[in-house]
Amino acid sequence: AVAPAAAQVKKPQDVRIVFVTHGQANDNYWTVVKNGMKAASDALGVKVDYQAPASFDVVKMGQMIEAATASSPDGLVVSIPDATALEAPIKAAKAAGIPVVVIDSGEDQVKPWGLDLFVGGGSEYQNGLKSGEILGEAGVKEAVCVNHEVGNVSQDQRCQGLSDGLAKSGGKTDVIAVTLDPTDATRRIEGYMASHPNVDGMMMLGTTLAGPILQMLDERGLGGKLKIGAYDISPEVLDAISSGKMLFTIDSQQYLMGYLPVVLLAGKAMYKTLPTEAVRTGPSIITKAEAGAVKSLSEEGIR
């Protein structure tokens, strides 16, 4: 629906693009990627498939990339959470003549492996560093990194970045390992806070637990004491930022990571066009000033 059909190498309805990422479909972050992908596919009339292992498993992801290659799509969109493990399958896809776009993580691999394009925010570590600096500026001396996926490299890098960023202003960081269960998570944090009364800053690595954690802090009378940051956005987080309970959130505008690759790879299939430079979608820091404006978009799953 974009250009005159005559000039097309391939008709939109014949174009098929496959996403293989490490993000589970029911993760809040990746669901927005998927929404973007869906929107682009509806707009262009191309076919898209999204695939991700049910838990963090790069080997399974490699096998999925191989399966995608076998179904010979017109474009492949991947994230690269573990370069060593995914090198062979991604290179094989490339060798089979499939254009490959990298999203979210893996910018460093694009050039050396001869892949086509990167679409995404800054590296996890850079984002973490940024969050540490912001908290440091806000006067935080002792922060906690609430990690619901200990052992997952990208989450670990965020905490590492936070620790290094905060260290610049002399603060220190501890990691609290939690699960996605709201009761477990809030009780653990509560327990930690009780035995570490000096904690004055917190980073949440996702939005899933934001609501219960904020509620718990309110109940215990700790609400105003903490400077809180988060990754990603959700209506609850945005409300909290508006009302001053939270300081900021780091948004990678992952909607674009879903939308753009579809448009670009469809373009590649239909018109043989593709940008030459990486497309940066983030990080964008959302504070009180912007929070209200994006809230309704967040409710729709666009941000």
Partner: protein, 374 residues
Amino acid sequence: MTMGTAVPAEPHSPQMQPSRMRRLVSRALRRPELGALGATIFVFAAFGLTAGGSGLFSVLGITNFLQVSAQLGILAAAVALLMIGGEFDLSLGSMIGFSGIVIGLCVTEFGLPLWVGILAAFAAAVLVGTANGILVMRTNLPSFIVTLAGYFVLRGLSLAVTRTLTGRTQIPYITKGADEPFVIWLFGGKFATGLFQWLGNIGIIPLRPDGVPIVQGLPMSVAWWLAITALATWVLVRTRFGNWIFAVGGDLQAARNVGVPVARVKILLFIATACSAALFATIQVLEAGSADTLRGTQKEFEAVIAAVIGGNLLSGGYGSAIGAMFGSLVFGTVEMGIFYTGIDSDWFMVFLGLMVLIAVLFNNYVRRKATEGR
């Protein structure tokens, strides 16, 4: 030596007729929950030594691990009955997520009152439990594999339906507009608030700057936990149905042969388990105010752990609901207690594993001493 002498048979040799007192004691010692009680005492002693001063046993700390134990315990009580009946339910965790989503969608998408949403979740639970039970009984397949299908299907349905309707995987602000204080209190509120306020006033619980004690009461989940454990125990020990549960788990064929309606018993057990998941989900939704498609992950697993720590047999036919209660308490306390000991979070799992093992070994030791020693 070969040629013995015929001694007149004593009608009652004293060893064969232990006194009533000893019999009572021995009967108490035979109870399955005894070992779990031992393990509980052990765990408390261990943390008393290592984390005594860290606040684990402050009012806040106690409320804290009680809440974790209580939620797990609600599931564990039902799972214990199901295990005694000789079956598993892997779909438990997914059912939690699914129930939460049902409540959330009813309220936020269809604008129904909260209590209708909760009823809908329980109706879904009854349906799923019935399906599980009928499939298991009709096909003679192991419940492991039948409920595995539920495990995938329910989790998948939660995701697909939620994303189709809302475009997200989380449903926030479920309780926000609700004007049903009783329903919210019943599942997500606190009880004994007066007591806690008083404790705060006399200085036993620290007060917040605004004069409210930092712990305002015990979460309702604790009340539910106790109520459901009591109910399950009553059913097991005092009703025909309880008798049948032991029988179908102990020997299905023998139970059928003496006329126990085995299919009915097992189906009801699956329904009870699914309903405990719905209750768990309701409590979490009303406490947290939101639902998420990922809720309940691995709970089927934790509930079985708690039940087994509590002395329930995996192979069925033996166990108790009170044991499951102690099992949940052990698991919840260990999980939270390790936090207070200040162990680096990388080592958390190592200690969790060791503590669970030691608690169970202790449980076993106590039970063995009680039944065999002497």
